[in-house]
Amino acid sequence: MRVDPMEGVTALPVAEPRPWGRLRAGGLPVIPLGIITTFVLIAILAPLISPADPEEQSLRNRFRPPVWDERGSWQHPLGTDRLGRDMLSRIFYGSRVSLTAGVVTVLLASAFGAAVGLVAGYYGGRVDAVLMRLTDATMSFPVILLALILAVTVGPSFANVVVAIAVILWARYARVIRGQVLTLMELDFIAQARIAGAGAWRVISRHLLPNTLNTLVVLVTLQIGYVIIVEASLSFLGAGIPPPTPAWGSMIAEGREFVTSAWWVSFFPGLAILLVVLAFNLLGDWLRDTLDPKLRQL
């Protein structure tokens, strides 16, 4: 007796795939997105919207308070620092340093780290053991120390900050991605791909990487905030962006002696860091909950 293969098979309507449907479902995180968009626009448009040149000194105008203070003026809405430079303009320009450092560093680190994680997880065995020991070693090295060494030996620069952070940060991506790859490797579609004749490159690029993208996106977003803080810490310690380029970290450092008399010099860059980092963290949390609730530990 032959069973009719069509028996009992009914055509169901196929829902149109909406790849972004999930992202919209719970409503967008308006506040974090708003803060990030604002700061990105500020960074791009800094030369157009800044009321003054951020590096122009005016010793007669030192320590001008913000506009709402009775000694303040609209000429310097957030006051001036100890060299009479316009605070608002410096914060505008400082956003360029922080955002570029955050994005560039995280992209470098995630690309390298994900590659290491994919290779380690795919090949397993000795390759995995060697790469993961390297990862462990990297993770045990403090970022700040490496950046200080670089600053002392090569001199502080934007490139050194990015390199110092990325050289350490990739390890985290390698760890997380390798873990995911190990789980994916157990699934039949990987075996099925290899049975269909796929080589290592094909399995990694077509099957493993696309299935780890959710995790990567979440981790990248969460880490941008972290990198901005590390960059600010380095600039605060004088191992970051060298003066006179305005960077939020070094602005806080410059103002710290005068906190009692001219609080605004340290306060406003600090507020800027707080807002941006908070926004990236909230966005990251939201992405994690939306894309992959299993990633709670990140």
Partner: protein, 329 residues
């Protein structure tokens, strides 16, 4: 007019295949001297308990045994007379999918969740036949239609999670016959499908085999399916084939005590049975196999001679058993 079965050369011929894996617990003799051959359009059922080496035999044929465990992979695997075990990895990649295809057990994870059915189906078709654009799309839809998926054009845009298990397993089937292959290995393809879908899927596999004339190795522990699907049966125990022969003979006159026990453990309607017969004991540890017959410890007919490993003995034309019971007195 087809030539008689015996005159046609086998599509796949395996001789004395040995797959030993070196693990932390010792050397596991997962496959230990397995030989069989399957001709065009025929199906060999590979039966046995979990861990008897069925799946490992199949993976050894396509050389996809676990890489983390170094070990032995030796013997002879001839695909249309062409030795596979000495091929380079690059050559194997051109054989996998094109000449030997495989369907695995779990339809829930056998498709990549992030790509549409169409994308996943077009990939092998493009690779095997060099098709592009509209021709490629049409061929993909044809393949879906050939595994009896309704409204294939629309299904191409669906994602795996939008399809049922049975549907997904059909899609995997469509990918497997994209070449079409000379040998299809089905490793318990219906185990996780419910019964009506199982019957449909088995019917579909038979239909595809009649159309494409591929040889098939059907791995299962379900003897009912074997009776329906296979011409030949090989019963595996502890990495060896303990009995092999035409399906009718194995069912009517099983010779090896293990085969007999397997058949007795299948409940049958109408048979007077107070309780189901189970095989006592556990399958042996493949890392610490006894020197003699591996089944001796559980065998109801064990004899003194069983401390020596029994050779393969012919009991009828095309029917052999590895048991001293068949030894000439």
């Amino acid at each position: 007019m087809r030539s008689p079965a015996s005159a046609r050369p086998p599509v796949i011929e395996v001789r004395d295949l040995r797959t030993h894996l070196v693990t932390r617990w010792g050397t596991v003799k997962a496959v230990d001297g397995v030989s069989f051959a399957v001709r065009e359009g025929e199906t060999l059922g590979l039966v046995g308990e979990s861990g008897s080496g069925k799946s490992m035999t199949c993976l050894s044929i396509v050389r996809l045994t676990p890489r983390s465990a170094s070990g032995v992979l030796e013997g002879t695997v001839l695909l249309d007379g062409d030795e596979l075990l000495t091929k380079s990895e690059k050559e194997m990649q051109r054989i996998r999918g094109r000449k030997v295809a495989m369907i695995l057990q779990d339809p829930m994870s056998s498709l990549n969740p992030v790509f549409s059915i169409g994308m996943q189906l077009r990939e092998p078709v493009a690779a095997y036949h060099g098709l592009r654009g509209a021709t490629l799309r049409r061929r993909a839809a044809e393949l879906l239609a050939s595994v009896r998926i309704p409204s294939p054009e629309a299904r191409l845009r669906a994602f795996p999670h939008q399809l049922s298990g049975g549907m997904r397993q059909r899609v995997v089937g469509a990918m497997a016959i994209a070449a079409p292959p000379r040998l299809l290995i089905a490793d318990e393809p219906t185990t996780s499908l419910d019964l009506t879908i199982q019957a449909q899927y088995l019917g579909l596999l038979k239909e595809l085999q009649e159309r494409h004339r591929f040889a098939m190795i059907f791995v299962t522990h379900n003897l009912g399916i074997v009776a329906k699907m296979c011409e030949q049966v090989a019963v595996m125990y502890a990495g060896r084939i303990v009995e092999m022969g035409p399906v009718r003979e194995i069912f009517t006159s099983p010779r090896h005590p293990y085969t007999q026990a397997l058949l007795e453990s299948v409940p049958r309607l109408g048979a007077k049975l107070d309780r189901l017969m189970a095989i006592e004991g556990q399958p042996p540890d493949l890392a610490r196999l006894p020197a003699g017959c591996a089944f001796a410890a559980r065998c109801p007919k064990v004899m003194d001679r069983c401390v020596e490993a029994p050779p393969e003995m012919a009991v009828a034309p095309g029917h052999s058993s590895r048991c001293w019971l068949q030894a000439p007195a």
